[in-house]
């Protein structure tokens, strides 16, 4: 929900989202895709850093 709200509040700025599970990674990536924004994913240990342009 926080990621979704952040993307809504910053439609024209890059947003970096840190998630701790693969499920959340897929969910956030899907939200970005549906908002027609590009998302890149990097692994940070066991976490995932998703940068949405």
């Amino acid at each position: 929900m926080m990621a979704y709200d952040a993307l809504e509040e910053h439609p024209n700025e890059p947003v970096t989202i840190l998630v701790s599970s693969a499920t959340a990674k897929v969910n956030v990536s899907e939200v970005a895709r549906r908002k027609r924004r590009e998302a890149t994913i990097e692994r940070d240990g066991d976490d995932y850093v998703i940068t949405v342009q």
């Binding site: 929900m1 979704y4 701790s20 599970s21 693969a22 499920t23 899907e30 549906r34």
Partner: protein, 367 residues
């Protein structure tokens, strides 16, 4: 995006799961209950003598398969992560309530879909309930409901549940020590190897696709995203084809196997499942998949469901199935007993309390 998580991939996954479900139906699982996460956990509770309701005692290999299938694929794809610490006792209660609600309706969300595909209109009542319950939960999510973040824990901790279930299955097969129904739904089962193999595949697919009926409704309501409902539609289509082809499609309220037509209790039972499911982060099947991929919190939810099943049958809270009159016995209306009705309503009140006391202000959450 991986193909399996595209719309086409999700639909194909659902069709495959539905097809595998049909295999279980063909090879002996109860009518309109080829897979039921809640009922099967209940049957396991009975097999271990946690309850003694004679018609529903059998150690279902399907439950082992779902969890182990998820575990194996999670390890293979490096998605296994042993976590814990996100309000486990609250999750235990949520699992307990999900089971109570399921046993009032006589099925989990997956069985609801299977019953819909067989023409059981009582499942339409349940659908109304689960949608309303999931939306209720989603509204609390919007207001900041959270059970807190899980933390990494010892890698072995997340493997306990899969390992224990495999051990229990082996012990049961080797010793014959568990209870086994001679009549009723517990006596109807696919061969162990078939059930286990099918469930392993379903567990793996469910882990990759994040399939969850309750989550699908939640996402549709919160984000207008229906992707998680796509595999559910696939399951429905496969099972509808199976039921039409085998003459098991019977459109109506009456005469449906292992069901009742107490509409208000079908609605409220699944309302509790939908509401508790959203608060817990997934329906009964999803909880098992999450437990398989390392979440000890979901493993505790599973234990809550197991204990809830035992409680329900020990204290007469589960619904009775409706039955037509015979030469020997009168017709049975079915549905929950007065005690079951009171406990279900109380459980729904408990859900509202849990939801309310776990609201976090957005500022605090962002800090």
């Amino acid at each position: 995006m991986e193909f399996i998580n595209s719309k086409q991939g999700l639909l194909i996954s659902g069709l495959v799961i539905g097809g595998l479900t049909a295999v279980l139906a063909l090879t002996g699982n109860p009518a309109n209950m080829a897979i039921c996460a809640a009922c099967f956990i209940r049957d396991i509770a009975g097999s271990l003598y946690l309850h003694t309701a004679a018609p529903v005692q059998y150690f279902r290999p399907e439950i082992v398969g779902f969890i182990v299938g998820s575990f194996v694929i999670a390890v293979a794809t490096k998605e296994y992560r042993s976590t814990a610490g996100s309000s486990p006792m609250i999750r235990f209660v949520l699992g307990f309530i999900m089971m109570l609600g399921s046993l009032v309706f006589l099925g989990c969300p997956l069985r609801m879909v299977i019953r819909l595909s067989a023409g059981d209109l009582n499942a339409v009542m349940a659908l109304i309930g689960i949608v309303a319950g999931a939306i209720t939960g989603a509204l609390f999510l919007k207001k900041g409901f959270s059970l807190g973040r899980e933390s990494d824990t010892n890698k072995a901790a997340g493997a306990v549940l899969p390992v224990v279930l495999v051990a229990l299955l082996i012990i049961g097969l080797a010793t014959g020590a568990y209870a086994m129904s001679e009549q009723g739904p517990g006596s109807m089962h696919a061969p162990v190897l078939v059930a286990l193999c099918v469930a392993l595949v379903i567990g793996a697919i469910a882990q990759r696709t994040r399939i969850c009926f309750v989550g699908g409704i939640r996402n549709l309501f919160l984000m207008k995203d229906f992707s998680l409902l796509v595999p559910i539609c696939g399951i429905f289509i496969s099972m509808l084809i199976y039921n039409l082809a085998t003459g098991n499609f019977n459109l109506g309220f009456d005469g449906q196997p292992i069901s009742h037509s107490q509409h208000i209790w079908n609605i409220l039972g699944m309302y509790a499942v939908g509401f508790a499911g959203v608060l817990a982060g997934g329906c009964p099947l999803r909880q098992m998949i999450l437990a398989g991929q390392g979440s000890s919190d979901s493993a505790v939810t599973f234990l809550g469901m197991l204990v809830g099943a035992a409680f329900a049958h020990n204290f007469g809270l589960a619904s009775a199935a409706a039955a037509a009159a015979t030469a020997e016995s009168e017709a049975v209306l079915g549905g929950p007993s007065p005690t079951g009705q009171i406990v279900l309503v109380a459980a729904i009140v408990v859900l509202f309390v849990i939801a309310a006391v776990n609201l976090r202000s957005k500022k605090k959450a962002a800090a």
